[in-house]
Symmetry: D2
Subunit: 288 residues, 4 copies
């Protein structure tokens, strides 16, 4: 019934105006590309238009350069930013970690079993602890310890590594160092972080202890793009888990880890499937 | 920021083929209608195409007859079935009940407070019990008791009533009588039923007792379009609630009622917002 | 199978020490009372012991005064606070509202249908809007408008009313006035409030708008005992609902209302079933 | 605040009668053992009493033989079955698998990181596929392929292995062979299986395809003790995951796997913490 041929993905955004949908869908029809699914949204708050299309190319033949050549002038009239993603494109993801391994282990399992259509060309850490796990998956592990003095230099090394390995997405899988503002800027829209969702409710040190003091009945997690406002970037995905009075703070942390790794996975999956668009400080997630 | 002007809704479906999207979106652009949101899906299993569009009409003026006149020939080429729904259209809903009032009460509350954009011109029941509740909401209540002998006659009366009141949707809000096959056929795609989701797991009498015997840890509810296969029509929405060993069967029933009314509400909301399409024995729900 | 005779409830708490369980369970056995369920918890953080027992009294006869007389000296050795609740005791609940009716409507529905084993002898409001709903349920409605000048006087009237009607529990079902500190003190442990759980994340005015600005993917609700720390008392129950980019702030509010009323109901149910104990700034909820 | 000394666990069950709680709690008090938590339940349906106690032994000294000697005659009067579990007892778990690795991987991760307080002395499989994963965790892997002819012999080998390795619990982590009735009997109450919770709704081959045909909006999983009624033993834990029309059967399977491994983990955790009791065909799970 299903032919298991994955479709191409077309995504675009521009300022809201009449004809934005038509310019895309008309080209698809004229070029003989078969549209399998459209999701579009017009954000009234930012007055921006977003669209994501899955299509099967014209069986007579499909040439990316030709698509670019033909569509570019049409897009230009709308100052439309657009992107074509081939089926089975494996996004190149650098994972950054410290000592906790719950998120790393989950991502690598899904990578290894094909649940996440990614490549993981390298893992970067400020601690040596998780090298063994990286090695089992045959992934280079770069240990870049951070001190106040070495921070700038090490972050520059990171940027070089991301460059050398053609990294498209950085996933901070419980990387416990704050990135410098210049680096946050440089990674805008292509670095995803996970934190306990008690923030911003419980800022500062030991948030689970603070939450426990209030007797919370739920703990959660938030995955977001990083920006300069620490732990406050545009939210991509959130998750929640029930807890009770019998869980002391240490157990809240453990419960929290389960929901952290699932939430981070969901965010990464949305991103690599090109479902997430930035719109001001928020995200538009075109999914169903 | 938001102008609170609700958009018009356009929905359509036809056999999958090249150009189905284009014929719609091109007309929208040419007629000057502003597309706020598109959701489309191409069902590989049934080879059918489904689309739902929210649009603001051309501010220069909008005439439904003109839309019909201009779009009809375009649609015809694709044998496309399509429908235009005006903003704030209040779907005319007949609610059918027996003795349980949890679903009726919930629907009427949401109707009264505007959460459900519907009219409820009449309530039909095979029992007199809930007349008082209907009266408080100033809704005519038709008591049509059913015996094996009277069933056909009473069901014909129902059809007359649905006709007289221009009913668009029938909601069986725990109506405990099985409708005759001819009536199910007549109401195809426009009658929603709710049942405990233990079915088809626990068929027959007293399903909650059967479920309790197995020590289930969850009870649920399923809202579906009715068809001739009793309690087995195309599923629109499902919900779930956790239970434990300390809940005896009577308490499972009570827990189940809460999830029944929320699930029924979700299904009705999807339907009146024109998000639900029939595709073979399944539904396509174009939502986000 | 079940005899539908509800059990008596015994609850107690005291400082943690050896023998606290034994003093209770031994008396039950000696007096011939049949223990159907025990839930106990020893809170290491506050060094306090909490217990809740459901029991069927000695079929030879049961006399509350005798229980009190016999158990009091045993409890005294542990400085134990304890309480006996008869089966089918209907807690006398005053509901306080302003203009929103979603929580009031839900509580009254569950009261009317017996899902909540309570009496509602009166409703108090600072607005006249919901009097009609109160009247349909035959419940006296006291309209006590609040101005800065009248606040003290009106709050004293409230206290008189709570007294006159022998109120055991006050439920602030979206009562939009802050209670004065002296009143909060007086109602400690017997007044439950509901607020959107975005707090303390999003303090101040228009929290749903603030949350929307961040693009939250979930909204929630928290039910808690009131105290002097505005919207920050000990948490009894929490609930969550998923949202997306297509929901503008007004829709977040609507989504939030559904989870508010369910969460408030859960908290009230736990309270009247004597499952909730205060332990420092937290609650112990002995449930399963 | 918490001393991280885990308590001993005492569990017991017997026929419901007056004094069952007292005989336990009185002995605890007299022997100077400090009760941290009691959970008890009296199942009216089976007329059986169940209790689980966490206690810190008398700091003056604690001797298991002495406990046994002193408590045995008290228990005998009630024909009470009881068990003492020392803190940090690591339950010896044999994991059985076929080709799917999602459950195995999850259990081994939680074992390795200490989230599950177990030993895994061996893994048994009817296929060689997952040996590499076992090897990375330094766990012996026994490949026992099954044919109709070899089934009895191989199952006898299994029993020998379970014996040799002092296995306390068998976890069928997607072991795709039906165990023979005699083996099911022998493993009663100490073998946990996981299946998609669509059962018994969708019996027979390819249940996810059957479910998809109905357009289900949720898939789930059920963990249960095995018995002779295939896939129908007493339920320990259940989980659920939302799905939609855009997920074809293969994707339902993938979605289902996530909820399968979490549900299996929950069931195993409840079992090794001695929270699960069999009561007729149901389980009593004493948790909070």
């Amino acid at each position: 019934m299903t032919d298991n041929v994955k479709p191409w993905i077309f995504t675009a955004s521009c300022v809201s105006t009449l004809g934005t949908v038509d310019v895309v869908t008309r080209y698809m029809a004229q070029a003989g590309h078969y549209v399998e699914e459209i999701l579009s949204f017009d954000d009234k708050a930012s007055s921006r238009f977003f669209i994501r299309i899955e299509f099967r190319p014209n069986p007579q033949g499909f040439n990316v350069d030709e698509f670019n050549l033909e569509f570019a002038p049409r897009a230009e009239k709308f100052a439309m930013q657009w992107q074509l993603t081939e089926p089975n494109h494996r996004t190149r993801v650098a994972i950054m970690v410290s000592k906790y391994d719950h998120c790393l282990n989950d991502l690598l399992y899904r990578y290894r079993t094909g649940q996440l259509n990614i490549e993981v060309p390298l893992i970067i850490s400020n601690h040596p602890d998780l090298e063994n796990l990286a090695r089992w998956h045959d992934i280079p592990y770069y240990h870049l310890p951070i001190t106040p003095e070495s921070k700038l230099e090490q972050e520059q090394k990171m940027v070089s590594l991301l460059d050398d390995y053609d990294v498209e997405l950085v996933v901070l899988a419980r990387y416990m160092q704050v990135l410098s503002p210049w680096l946050c800027d440089q990674l805008e829209g292509r670095a995803i972080n996970i934190h306990h969702s008690l923030l911003p409710g419980f800022k500062g040190a030991r948030p689970y202890h603070q939450a426990w003091e209030k007797g919370v009945k739920m703990v959660g997690a938030t995955a977001h793009y990083i920006n300069n406002d620490l732990d406050e970037g545009p939210i991509i995905a959130q998750g929640i888990q029930e807890v009770g009075h019998a869980q002391y703070p240490e157990e809240l942390v453990a419960k929290g880890q389960d929901i952290e790794r699932i939430t981070l996975f969901n965010a990464v999956k949305h991103h690599i499937e090109k479902r997430v668009f930035l719109s001001g400080g928020r995200t538009i997630v075109l999914s169903h």
